[in-house]
């Protein structure tokens, strides 16, 4: 039996159904990401698991215990908020130890646990600082320590990296991954950033309009999207009916092709076209190619070698491996 089970979960706000008859099973120790666009219901789902919202119908079973109607205090679930939610009147150590104080843990054991948690997030030297004197990244690490010190049955992370700059985001992402590996805590991570989801998770749950669109490993989600929505949300798939692929037996169906799966060459290939745009994104060069049939395809190549040196208006040929073309329902 799964560690966390959501069965027929439904939640509406007025006429708007945010979580729609959703079933979800999560195994113990997994790091799951709830991914989806704004308004898809991922945060509401997370808040319902935490007990900050209550489902209209359906059930939530955590570690064999029905917590559907339990108050947040009784769930032993910890949560890290997008905007940290640190208590400004308390020092870092007091913030981390707050939950333990509420649990009336003896002071020695409380101090030891706080120290361990701060060591885990590498913030021991800031223990007597107030949150106002910390950077965004440090604040979020305190929030993480505060959640971990409670030794929760489930850790929820609600877009914890959204308020940070790109560099900090990557570094904290690695730290979360490392801590999860070390503690083996069952974790649900909410994000709208597909790169974050793919980099962190054991499984990704892609949500759309309150329903699960696809629930699979990051690899499978990226390479085998099961719907147009998934293909459109994950990566930068070329989606549509491409007449230029008529030679392929699937030419008349809706299809999705990853831009990095298409090979581009100035002399040889199956589909002729012309470069109409070139964008450098660091390690990757993205070309927009207009085929002779008038269709536009994105093509990614590594920013290295001959293929990366093509310029706008160059005539090119594209080769699209048949097994890389995904047909869509």
């Amino acid at each position: 039996m799964s560690y966390l089970r959501l069965k027929n979960a439904r939640k509406s706000f007025g006429a708007l159904t945010v979580v729609d008859d959703l079933d979800l099973n999560i195994e113990k120790g997994q790091l799951i990401t709830l991914l989806g666009p704004s308004g898809c219901g991922k945060s509401t789902l997370l808040r319902s698991i935490a007990g900050l919202e209550f489902l209209d119908s359906g059930s939530i079973i955590l570690n064999g215990r029905d917590i559907t109607h339990a108050r947040p205090q009784k769930r032993n679930i910890a949560m890290v908020f997008q905007h940290y939610a640190l208590f400004p009147n308390m020092t870092v150590a007091d913030n981390v130890g707050f939950g333990l104080k509420i649990r009336k843990l003896p002071i020695e054991s409380r101090l030891r646990k706080v120290k361990e948690a701060l060591e885990l997030v590498e913030l021991t030297e800031f223990s007597q600082q107030k949150p106002a004197f910390l950077s965004g990244g440090q604040k979020q690490r305190v929030a993480l320590a505060r959640a971990l010190v409670m030794e929760p049955d489930l850790l929820l992370l609600d877009e914890p990296l959204s308020a940070l700059d790109a560099k900090l985001r990557k570094s904290l992402r690695q730290q979360i991954k490392h801590i999860h590996k070390e503690l083996g805590l069952t974790t649900i991570f909410v994000t709208h950033d597909q790169e974050e989801a793919l980099a962190l998770s054991d499984k990704v749950v892609l949500l759309n309009k309150g329903r699960i669109e696809q629930h699979s490993t990051p690899e499978k989600l990226y390479s085998q999207p099961n719907s147009k929505f998934t293909a459109g949300f994950i990566g930068n798939y070329n989606i549509g009916r491409f007449n230029c692929l008529n030679k392929l037996p699937i030419g008349q169906l809706d299809m999705a092709i990853r831009p990095e799966a298409i090979q581009i060459d100035s002399t040889n290939g199956d589909v002729a076209g012309k470069i109409i745009d070139r964008t450098l994104t660091g390690g990757v060069v993205r070309y927009q190619v207009k085929t002779d049939e008038g269709e536009i395809l994105d093509v990614d190549v590594l920013n290295y070698g001959e293929a990366s040196k093509l310029i706008i208006n160059d005539s090119v040929y594209l080769t699209i491996p048949e097994d890389e073309v995904i047909t869509m329902a």
Binding site: L52, Q73, A78, F81, F87, G99, F133
Partner: protein
């Protein structure tokens, strides 16, 4: 062509060159100085008049004396007026804060849509002139107003309505600044009950809002005259009624009264700041 950097300005006197930021700093300081002077002049003049003897033919007083201050501080009527004024103002302010705090807690956590109705209610004290509402209150509560306790209670109730918008806005800004919903939810997830959350988390972080709301209310109410004169004018005196009774007696005494309650307020502010333990660090 000059090699002078773009951000330096030649002094018109041919002296030392100043950078633009230095010049701006001078302008900013000058502006603040002018503003402070404008604000301080009435208080300083009142203060000077309260300790002046003869002052008729020169810019500054011809003689100085503490006679007026001594006179009012030894007048039992003034001391009682101070007592009643502060009793009414502090009670009105505390009542407002006590009643508005839970409303704000609900608005910010559970019922954000109440905000638009509350915004409407907050305009009402400004929409109805005190002279009109005080006569309404007089008619409605005439039985209670016949005894001192009843009159004080009714007046505190009226004061609540006057300071409602100020207290609400002061606390509301503080609620918004600390992100109270996240704090409460986070505290609840750590096992704290709502009551513990309010005492350990919410109230300590609203200290600034409480202090601001309290002082705005007290400062505003201490100058209130219409309600107090119409509702309890004949029963006991507040500072404003006492001040009114001095209007034909002596300008020096009136100044001594005003400067006295100004300093009382200053002392209360200092004491509360001291006890609130707010350490403002850079």
């Amino acid at each position: 062509m000059s090699n002078q950097p773009a951000n330096t300005i030649n002094s018109p006197m041919g002296g030392k060159q100043r950078t633009k930021s230095e010049v701006n700093k001078i302008y900013h300081s000058l502006y603040i100085l002018i503003l402070l002077t404008i604000i301080t002049i009435p208080i300083a003049s009142t203060g000077i008049y309260a300790i002046s003897g003869n002052w008729s033919q020169s810019i500054l007083p011809e003689s100085w004396t503490f006679q007026w201050l001594l006179q009012i501080w030894t007048d039992e009527r003034f001391l009682w007026a101070c007592f009643y004024s502060f009793l009414l103002c502090i009670s009105g302010a505390l009542l407002s804060i006590t009643l508005i705090f839970p409303v704000l807690l609900i608005v910010h956590t559970k019922k954000p849509h109440w905000q638009r109705w509350i915004n409407f209610v907050l305009v009402l004290p400004f929409a109805v002139p005190p002279i009109v509402s005080s006569i309404g209150v007089l008619n409605l509560y005439s039985d209670f107003l016949n005894n001192k306790i009843g009159a004080i209670l009714i007046l505190i109730g009226c004061y609540f309505t006057i300071v409602l918008p100020f207290v609400y806005r002061a606390l509301d800004s503080n609620f918004l600044a600390i992100g109270v919903k996240d704090l409460i939810e986070s505290s609840n997830l750590m096992g704290a009950t709502s009551l513990k959350t309010v005492f350990y988390v919410v109230m300590p972080n609203l200290k600034t809002g409480f202090i601001v709301a309290f002082f705005i209310s007290v400062s505003f109410l201490i100058g209130e005259f219409v309600y107090v004169n119409i509702l309890i004018g004949g029963q006991f005196e507040t500072i404003q009624i006492y001040l009114y009774s001095l209007k034909n007696l002596s300008g020096h005494l009136s100044s001594a009264v005003v400067i006295s309650y100004f300093f009382i307020l200053l002392i209360i502010t200092a004491i509360i700041n001291m006890f609130s333990g707010s350490k403002r660090r850079g």
